[in-house]
Assembly symmetry: C2
Homo-oligomer: 285 residues x 2
């Protein structure tokens, strides 16, 4: 059941929240009291039922920070009705953001975008983009402007202006252009589309529906999922840096053949598995 | 999260259905297409949220047999609303039986009884009783009545009448009294009570709330749970044959001290654990 946590400097973004998510969050030491945003792609049981246990366990852990949830509007109604019937007494606030095209939310560390996916229910894909980093710092330029090494350099490197000899020096005078942050995309359940290839353009990690093998394309069409080959084609068109196949059908005893098929199209592919960790390095600049 | 399966001759009774139940049902080979009855004690998330995934996965497995669910009335409404919102298209019928005092349901193999438990929400305890077995067969009596050994003896041993020399011989003429079936009780979340001690009278296996250690009795009173010692006291008063402690609070790193405390009161005690199997033999007669 899908539940993919993106961790960055104490902040957590969760792509979907399938059954068992809370157990994995505990066993992987991700933490119940983090600055957390949950992005729900669509309202099929295997993608959302883990929210109930997560909300309850966060309350048992006396969470105080608000929890942000992004998803289809009906999700809010269902969570409200269910929390009442199941008496999930929350110790924290749930901030609900209905999903929409474009920028959905800005958190401390990320800008979160969504677009339409193509599934049997209303479905969305998400792209999270790390806020930009200050540009490369040039010590020579700083010296030329008479800025002494130390505290002031450090301020400039963090993208803040400093006062030197009565005048304000902006980081732009001593640094290269702001470098874009890393970007991670998640398709949820979907058919491939040119919209998605554009949406995921140049992302550093693309996590994509790979329910079926290439030979079962007809089933993928009928059930509104993607094949491993189609996932690889999206990654290729999007010029993604890395692809993680996910959401494999239980019909395949091994996912190795699916991985091979995808790699023939897009080499930088891995097959996701429960508990797998993938790091997303900054691109070389 | 509680989910306890009782298996007997192809029939399954599930006490509660916490998150992750479907996963365990698959990994233990219990089967998704069995003659199954789910007994829900109360509507707290950790006891019911696993139903959603179970219903969905049973449908994916093309279940056709109806599924019986017993529980508080509101459960039916919640399941209905949730199945619609989450588009859980069932391939089988859900037969819902609102829980009530006394006999709730008779299945092929069991008579299912319920009584009031004492928790922070409306809560119930269940007792399932195997249908009675034919009495001990006496070959001497059969021979005296001129019944030839073989097929006819076998029929009589199964509790059916036979025709011999033009007259009907009933099993009672060649057997001892009908022997009661085995009985398994499950408290759900509850304080102990004299009502429960009577309800679980002489059961072969009692599965009882043991959230807290004896020293944390005050917490058990406040949160409407039981301590391991109180669970053992109920088992003792009920003259149960065996006690399984369950639902331990995560605050205890080890449940061994709780087991010891309980055994000081009621020797035949085990501490339940995820995936544990307990067999319930017939009592010696």
């Amino acid at each position: 059941m899908p539940a993919i946590a993106i961790q960055r400097e104490g902040e957590v973004v969760l792509f979907d929240c399938g059954e068992g998510a809370q157990r994995r969050i505990l066993s992987e030491g991700i933490g119940l009291n983090k600055d957390t945003t949950v992005l729900i792609t669509h309202l099929h049981g295997d993608h959302v039922t883990g929210l109930l246990g997560l909300l309850q366990t966060m309350s048992l852990a006396q969470r105080r920070k608000p929890l942000r949830i992004v998803g289809p509007r009906k999700l809010k109604d269902w969570l409200k009705a269910t929390s009442e019937i199941l008496e999930i007494g929350l110790t924290f606030e749930v901030e609900f953001f209905p999903v929409r095209q474009g920028v959905v939310l800005r958190t401390k560390g990320f800008v979160i975008r969504a677009t339409h996916a193509l599934h049997s229910a209303e479905a969305h894909s998400y792209l999270i983009e790390e806020r930009g980093r200050p540009g490369v710092f040039y010590p020579k330029k700083a010296k030329r402007l008479g800025i002494p090494e130390g505290k002031l350099w450090s301020r400039l490197q963090k993208g803040r202006s400093v006062l030197v000899g009565g005048r304000s020096v902006s980081p732009r005078e001593v640094s290269g252009p702001v470098r874009p942050g890393r970007r991670v995309g998640y398709s949820g359940d979907t058919r491939p589309s040119s919209r998605l290839s554009r949406f995921f353009s140049r992302c550093d990690l693309l996590i994509f529906d790979s329910t079926f093998a290439g030979r079962d394309r007809q089933k993928a069409v009928e059930r509104r999922h993607s094949t491993c080959v189609e996932a690889a084609e999206v990654a290729k068109k999007a010029h993604a840096r890395k692809l993680a196949l996910t959401h494999f059908s239980a019909r395949y005893a091994s996912v190795t053949p699916l991985l091979k098929e995808a790699r023939a199209v897009f080499q930088e592919t891995v097959a996701a598995a429960d508990g797998m960790k993938v790091s997303v390095p900054y691109p070389e600049t």
